[in-house]
């Protein structure tokens, strides 16, 4: 039907929207395919998980960061004191102006400040819930439940907050490569904090659309981590480019562990590197959630199981899972745009 007559503005706008949608669809498909067969539940943790609580957490800061994100600083002493790296909160969006959001939204704990009794969350405005969350003002309180889930753990580190020791017991990790994209950076920042505490040398890939949209630059600087910023606008975030760069950088000594969050294709790249270097890879996943506590069974992880057996749940068995290594499936997924 090419060359139809009516190229009205309405028709042209509809055409643009269609093209944008097709690009987005292609990326989402690649991202989902990249996780296929990649994920396994982690072995039982040796660190006991803190008891979750709920709290009315006053909003101390709510500001726009970069071009696309918002940062919340919440006062919630119990959670700030007990949360482990990579754990998350369920944030209940308060009703406002007729908008009623029923389900709380899962959000990673980006930073923990136990001395101030505060935590930080960085989020992107995506759908109805986060749009309504963006209307919350400083001085209001948010109902938060947490800390929740199984976070990132450095291999063989008995207690993530303990001082590193060369004494008896297995050898703790000494170097770590962390890879985060977009808000996925928030899931790994707790581990950057832990690395700083434990004297682990952290190299952090921060990926995003543009420099202005990179999350965590200041945090990494504060925590003394080495940052590799990569962005879409200069092509540095493209998977082949990033892969080559990391292979070159760690050619001599690979990191002791790779932690990754924010895109299926990045998780697959991490798994490729982990396979090549023979180091463990931990991946933090997302899933739609209602309870965050393991009882609603809503957050099935993309792990194939016997149809008669329920697979792992992202909220309690994750959100952090092990990548199945060495990688056997074709690494094709990682070639999609990153």
């Amino acid at each position: 039907m090419p060359g139809t007559p009516a190229e009205t503005p309405a028709v042209l706008a509809a055409r643009d929207a269609l093209a944008a949608l097709r690009r987005q669809q292609a990326f989402a498909a690649a991202d989902e395919a990249a996780l296929d067969g990649l994920i396994a539940v982690r072995p039982p943790a040796r660190t006991p998980r803190p008891d979750p609580v709920w709290d009315d957490a006053p909003v101390l800061v709510h500001e726009v960061v970069g071009e696309r994100y918002r940062r919340l600083v919440l006062r919630t002493a119990t959670i700030a004191t007990t949360a482990l790296a990579g754990q998350f909160l369920m944030i209940t969006v308060p009703p406002k102006g007729g908008e009623r959001i029923l389900l709380p939204r899962p959000m990673a704990i980006h930073r923990r400040h136990p001395e101030q009794g505060t935590v930080e969350v960085i989020y992107g405005v995506a759908g109805r819930g986060t749009t309504a969350l963006a209307d919350v003002v400083v001085g209001e309180s948010l109902l938060v439940t947490g800390p929740l889930g199984r976070g990132f753990e450095f291999p063989d580190a008995a207690l993530p907050t303990a001082t590193p020791s060369a004494g008896p017991g297995p050898q703790p990790a000494r170097t770590a490569l962390m890879i985060g994209r977009g808000v996925g950076v928030c899931a790994i920042m707790g581990s950057v904090e832990d690395a700083a505490d434990q004297g682990i040398s952290a190299t952090v890939v921060l990926s995003g659309r543009s420099r202005a949209n990179l999350i965590g630059l200041a945090d990494c600087a504060e925590l003394g981590a080495t940052v590799i910023p990569v962005t879409d606008d200069d092509g540095s975030s493209a998977l082949p480019a990033l892969g080559e760069r990391l292979r070159a950088r760690f050619a001599a000594t690979p990191p002791d562990v790779i932690l990754v969050c924010g895109a299926g294709v990045l998780a697959r790249l991490a798994a490729e590197l982990g396979s090549e270097w023979d180091v463990p890879v931990q991946v933090s996943l997302e899933a739609h959630m209602a309870c965050g506590l393991g009882y609603c069974h809503g957050c099935a992880a993309p792990v194939a199981t016997d149809p008669a057996v329920e697979g792992p749940l992202v909220c309690v068995d994750g959100p952090v899972f092990d990548a199945v290594l060495p990688l056997t499936a074709a690494a094709g997924g990682a070639n999609a745009a990153g």
Partner: protein, 324 residues
């Protein structure tokens, strides 16, 4: 703009536990389901509660707890996404993963027993003959059984067992042969006559009906108009289904003598009182617990406060006042 002062590491959860009101001898919130007496008429909806919530709320202030539906044999549940939220409400297609009766007895029931309130075990089946064996296999565990006849029915191409009065009658009759414990029948929404369904349950020996389960729905993504849920179809729950379920509770309450337990979109004490005012004798809270885990306990507390304020001894008389 007022910002609360820094807190010592305590939290709203512990403050809520501490604020437990004194029981008042002047108010009687108890409700009888067959031989079982609940201290008050507030309980969770099946699938919207688990023992892990016991760390977050004072479960002993509830009338009972209800387990997630237990099937006879293990089921894995549906593919992701299993739930989402749309403007019309929450939609879930969890698909009732179950470890089977044995798995429940071994893994979950002991945790429920620690909660200190009556445990109502929800029981599911794919055919009307499947319920009684599950109850038998539960070997007396639980204080009552809620028969979830709102699951897809293998006998009648995937419609609900609970939409067919004859099938309901059969389920209850067979289960009754296995146990003397109180039986609650949980009915679906998409039925042409809820009265006929409730009457069938009563006639076969049920001690209560629960009205109702979630409303089957099909949420689509906004961008590509593809199904959001792995299972395509899920159950709509939350406040928007309340006016639909209110009608069903009203009709069921007029059809049977046994108590009607209302379930559908209850978030607040006023919502619960709406249901009491059309004839419900107890309420179940589902979706609301996700956003406000303490919602159920808040309702149980406020029911006592409202009775005290109106200087009446029970909810029945509270309703009369609104209607005066």
């Amino acid at each position: 703009m007022t910002i609360a002062p820094p807190r010592t590491p305590t939290d709203a959860r512990s403050a809520f536990f501490d604020a437990r009101p004194a029981d008042s001898a002047a108010v009687d919130l108890s409700v009888r389901i067959g031989s079982l007496t609940l201290a008050n008429p507030v309980m969770p909806a099946s699938g919207c509660f688990g023992p892990s919530l016991g760390r977050l709320i004072p479960v002993t202030e509830l009338g009972a707890v209800v387990t997630k539906t237990v099937f006879g044999t293990p089921r894995g549940g549906n593919a992701a996404h299993r739930l989402t939220e749309i403007r019309a409400g929450m939609v879930n297609s969890v698909g009732i993963p179950s470890r089977g009766a044995d798995g429940y007895l071994a893994g979950q029931h002991p945790l429920y027993l620690t909660l200190g309130v009556p445990v109502i075990v929800s029981v599911g089946g794919h055919r009307s003959s499947e319920y009684a064996p599950v109850v038998r296999d539960l070997r007396g565990a639980g204080d009552a059984y809620e028969l979830n006849v709102s699951c897809p029915n293998l006998d009648r191409h995937g419609t609900d067992i609970g939409s067919d009065p004859d099938a309901i009658e059969k389920v209850v009759r067979l289960v009754r042969q296995e146990t003397d414990k109180p039986l609650i029948v949980k009915l679906p929404v998409l039925v042409s006559s809820i009265a006929d369904c409730a009457r069938a349950a009563e006639a076969a020996g049920a001690d209560a009906v629960c009205v109702a389960n979630s409303v089957p729905a099909l949420p689509l993504t906004a961008d590509t108009r593809s199904p959001v849920l792995g299972n395509v179809i899920g159950g709509l729950s939350g406040p928007n289904i309340r006016p639909i379920v209110l009608r069903l509770v009203w009709l069921a309450s007029r059809a049977v003598q046994i108590p009607v337990i209302a379930c559908g979109g209850i978030e607040t004490t006023d919502d619960a009182l709406d249901y009491f005012s059309v004839g419900a004798r107890a309420v179940q809270v589902g979706t609301a617990s996700f956003g406000r885990p303490y919602a159920m306990v808040e309702i149980a507390r406020a029911l006592q406060e409202r009775c005290l304020a109106a200087e009446v001894a029970d909810i029945g008389r509270l309703i009369e006042i609104w209607r005066a």
